[in-house]
């Protein structure tokens, strides 16, 4: 196993190198460069002055030279500065955007799981009951409602309709609060105030983001549990007099959860990608917007930092998944 892990880690390096080459090339092959707009705005700029500007931005060199310069600095931990935001790209991605995205995605994932698993079990155990039909109906509604649409409807409900009808403003119209944990640390705000502000800002985007996964996982949980509940060992457990509760939670659930664990595992890299549409609707400054804006704005350093980081995550989680298969299933062995 140890050798296998070492071998896989060794394979990761050329893979990541190729991924970074591909990303850099694609990003650089976009039409135009970041200075085009400037040139258009200022027709009085001479070609020499424009060339000096391109040199100052490192855009006068061919793609491969720029790539190896980027790579040389990146392996030393310097991912360059964001052209758009001025700050170091690493700081922008890992200190500003990633934590916010993780707050949003992990919260919504947790809520989705906490609701989907018991509801899925319920619908499997009470198959074809009124409750099952109702939840199935709601699940399909959740699955077929696009996030951006649900987000706008929720915004309308909580930001316009309820305040206008009942005279209270309960939730903010998107964005993030002007309160960071550092404010609590320096005594500028209380922990309660911090939690209240973040909770009110997160409730709508989290609900929007959780809805789709919640609906999908409820259906998967139901199907998986139904399959397990019809297995021989469950029938055997029941026939030898094990209580229904034990049958359900000790025998069936553990096996019924395996497909859900796989699905959740597969969605791990997506936690870091952010959720572009939800972030856009709620003006939530997370990774999704960062990646999108950096590509549109030709902010190469940010785009590279974010995309290569995600490539690393994908490769890493693949390795973790492979290792976990061996841990979970004794029949799988790596040499």
């Amino acid at each position: 196993m140890f050798n296998y892990i070492l071998r896989r880690l060794g394979q990761m390096l050329p893979l990541l190198f190729l991924a970074s080459v591909a990303i850099f090339t694609l990003v650089s092959l976009q039409p135009g460069d970041p200075l085009d707009e400037l040139r258009m705005q200022n027709p009085m700029m001479t070609p020499e002055q424009f060339e000096a500007l391109r040199r100052a931005h490192g855009l006068d060199q061919p793609i491969h030279v720029r790539y190896f310069k980027w790579l040389g600095r990146a392996v030393n931990g310097d991912l360059g500065r964001s052209r758009t935001y001025g700050v170091p790209a690493a700081e922008f991605i890992f200190e500003q955007r990633l934590p916010r995205t993780l707050v949003l995605t992990i919260t919504s994932l947790t809520i989705a799981l906490l609701i989907a698993i018991p509801v899925g079990i319920f619908t499997a155990v009470r198959q074809y009951s009124a409750g099952d039909y109702t939840i199935t109906f709601l699940s399909f509604v959740g699955l077929s409602t696009p996030n951006f649409f649900l987000g706008i409807i929720l915004l309308y409900l909580f930001v316009i309709f309820i305040p206008e009808t009942f005279g209270v403003r309960a939730l903010p119209p998107g964005g993030i609060p002007d309160l960071m944990w550092s404010d609590v640390q320096v005594g500028r705000a209380t922990a309660g105030e911090f939690i209240r502000q973040w909770a009110t800002h997160l409730v709508l985007p989290v609900f929007t983001l959780a809805t789709g996964s919640m609906a999908a996982w409820t259906r998967f949980m139901r199907a998986s549990m139904l399959e397990v509940l019809n297995q021989d060992y469950v029938r055997t457990a029941r026939s030898k007099g094990v209580s229904e509760r034990k049958v359900l939670y000790k025998h069936a659930l553990r096996n019924g959860l395996i497909p859900i664990i796989t699905l959740v595992g597969l969605s791990m890299p997506a936690l870091f990608n952010g959720a572009l549409l939800t972030e856009t609707v709620f003006s939530y400054p997370g990774m999704g917007r960062a990646i999108f804006d950096s590509l549109v704005g030709k902010d190469y350093n940010v785009a590279m930092a974010a995309l290569v980081f995600i490539a690393i995550l994908v490769v890493f989680f693949n390795l973790v998944a492979d290792i976990l298969y061996a841990v979970v299933d004794p029949r799988i062995r790596y040499d």
Binding site: L53, G86, V159, R289
Partner: protein
């Protein structure tokens, strides 16, 4: 349970209570967030929202008021020939040099109380002259000189000078006493690098210098000082920027407590979410970068305006137009005779621009007849105007040998015996719904006169890339291209857009703004006369003549001037914008006078004088 829910709802509601008049604050909603503040040389690029926010924090030597007039801000008076502070001399090559002698006021200090002196001017000049500094206007700073006489007096020189040099502050001012020590360190670092090999590294270090004083972290740590009526005290990236009154600003009114104590810019990047914020009252006013024109006219906003907020439409100098490919060596161009002014006249007569403005913009975006805003002091109202006249349009086409085919589209036989249909490519930015609606309108009108439009849209990043935009010469686009130019008074005076020599061709390495290759030697001659005429009274008639030539020759097809929507909560006074206020039309005219009438703020400026109220 009921008590719990009630308490929770009340607690949440209190958190978002309308704060404006209660604590004399103003919340400004914007869809863009600045990158840094204080990059007054635009080394990191220019962003509209950064310029707008900086109006509250930094003042210049002059201020451009609502009527686009210069007022002294940090100096005792504006340099003019009449007061002897502006001296024009002839250079041996026939060009002119201008010297402006300026004197700083003696009551001006930075927010830390340190006096503002000529050292601060000289410092910015030193930055601007540093090789490798990525200025956005290197051409301007290459002609600029600054000589310090004493702590208060200095001389600015433009050589050779252009008329546009006399618009706006000659040079920004930054706090040398705070920034120079860091700049000295930066210089030491750069001294160890090779300018040829390490140009990009040097550029990054220089850009980092400005970031180190203007980034959110720098703002929050209070690394620099300000000379405007407000100073940024807290910036939460992605959320908000809070400004507080600068007690050391020299032009605060005596009863300053009647005016704003603080301002908060809320960054809500999605304009739909911003619209929700306006309707819900979470923002008091909108910035110049906020909801779109369409959204400002949407029932969600307008239906809730009564007794709550005003919706203003302020004319801007952003000019929507159709550039026409006039590179006659291209077969498509010569087949359609786009390089013949009669074809362009046929096109403009065939478009009902007035109806389009009324149908799509409630008439709030005025039809343009040339490329200069009616609010510019050089505007010529008497240029040739082309009314909607389909018959005249058809007459022009017939004069050129076109006749309607069986399908109603014009066709003609070329000299080499080919039959060509009048099928015109029409490019604009895909995804820009407003433009795409105009495009449909124009296409339908043109079809009526026998011109078939072939739409070829692509995203802005594609059509505005130089490989497309600046390659009309190579036939990247062969017909019409609809987009907008954003003007300031200075760029109007520069008037370089439609010069023959600014057509992107292989000879000039495809540089220049004259994208379609329009060319009128008369226009070029007038322009060169106009920029060299430093007496603006004498220059204005020349600029007006240029507009007349522009309209006569139809160097491009003028469509409309855009209007910027502003939502202003009732009770807020002096949050006023105009077409050229502070150069580009950003609000407010005088930040120190913005306030709430409920708190005793007096109205000095009236938006009704500079815009139209939606009713």
């Amino acid at each position: 349970m009921y008590r719990f829910v009630t308490t929770l709802v009340l607690a949440l509601a209190l958190g978002f209570a309308f704060a404006g008049p209660q604590d004399n604050s103003l919340t400004v909603g914007t869809s863009q967030e600045p990158v840094v503040l204080g990059d007054l040389l635009n080394v990191l690029g220019s962003m509209a929202i950064a310029s707008e926010v900086e109006l509250w924090n930094y003042v210049g030597l002059y201020r451009i008021d609502l009527d686009a007039e210069l007022e002294p801000e940090l100096v005792t008076e504006v340099a003019t020939v009449e007061n002897g502070r502006l001296v024009i001399t002839e250079l041996p090559d026939g060009a002119q040099e201008v010297e402006a002698t300026l004197t700083l006021r003696d009551d001006i200090v930075w927010s830390d109380g340190h006096p503002i002196t000529t050292d601060d001017v000289a410092f910015v000049y030193e930055l601007s002259q540093t090789p490798g500094m990525s200025l956005s206007s290197p051409d301007y700073y290459a002609r600029l000189g600054v000589e310090v006489i004493d702590e208060r007096e200095f001389v600015v020189t433009w050589s050779p000078a252009q008329s546009s040099d006399l618009v706006g502050s000659p040079i920004p001012v930054l706090p040398a006493h705070v920034m120079r020590p860091v700049w000295d360190d930066v210089q030491s670092t750069v001294a160890g690098l090779d300018p040829e090999v390490d140009a990009a590294r040097i550029g990054e270090i220089y850009r980092g210098f400005f970031t180190d004083f203007g980034s959110p972290a720098a703002i929050n740590e209070g690394r620099t000082v300000y000379n405007g009526p407000f100073m940024p005290v807290r910036w939460t990236p992605g959320s908000a920027l809070r400004l507080e009154r600068n007690p050391n600003y020299h032009l605060h009114p005596e009863n300053q407590d009647a005016y704003l104590r603080s301002v908060e810019y809320r960054f809500i990047t999605d304009t739909n979410a911003l619209l929700f914020a306006i309707v819900s009252g979470a923002v008091d006013v909108t910035s110049s970068v906020s909801i779109t024109f369409d959204q400002a006219l949407s029932p969600q906003i307008t239906a809730r305006a009564v007794d709550r907020y005003d919706i203003w439409f302020v004319p801007s100098a952003t000019w929507e137009h159709l550039d026409i490919n006039q590179f006659s060596h291209l077969q498509q161009v010569s087949d359609l005779m786009l390089d013949d002014v009669r074809t362009r006249r046929a096109i403009i007569h065939g478009i009902d621009r007035q109806s389009m403005s009324e149908a799509l913009f409630d008439g709030l975006q005025p039809v343009s007849h040339a490329n200069v805003s009616p609010f510019d002091f050089t505007y010529n109202p008497d240029v040739r105007q082309y009314a909607y006249d389909p018959e005249q349009s058809v007459a022009y086409l017939e004069e050129l040998g076109w006749s309607r085919g069986a399908d109603g589209i014009m066709q003609r036989t070329t000299e080499d015996g080919r039959t060509v249909r009048f099928e015109l490519e029409f490019v604009t930015t895909a995804g820009n719904a407003v433009r795409e609606r105009q495009q449909q309108f124009i296409a339908e009108d043109l079809r009526q006169v026998g011109i078939e439009v072939r739409i070829n849209n692509a995203p802005a990043s594609v059509v505005f890339a130089p490989d497309f935009l600046s390659r009309a010469y190579d036939g990247a686009w062969t017909g019409m291209f609809m987009f907008a130019w954003v003007s300031s008074q200075a760029s109007v005076l520069n008037a370089a857009g439609y010069l023959c020599r600014n057509a992107p061709t292989p000879e000039n390495d495809f540089a220049g703004q004259n994208l379609g290759g329009a060319c009128s030697p008369e226009f070029d001659e007038l322009r060169d006369q106009a920029v060299a005429e430093l007496d603006l009274d004498l220059a204005v008639p020349i600029y007006q003549e240029m507009q007349a030539v522009f309209a006569e020759e139809l160097l491009a097809i003028p469509l409309i001037f855009r209007s910027n929507p502003f939502v202003v909560t009732q009770g807020v006074v002096n949050y006023v914008a105009s077409t050229f206020n502070q150069g580009y039309g950003y609000p407010p005219a005088a930040p120190e006078l913005v306030g709430w009438v409920q708190n005793g703020a007096e109205q000095v400026f009236d938006q009704a004088d500079y815009g139209e109220l939606y009713e």
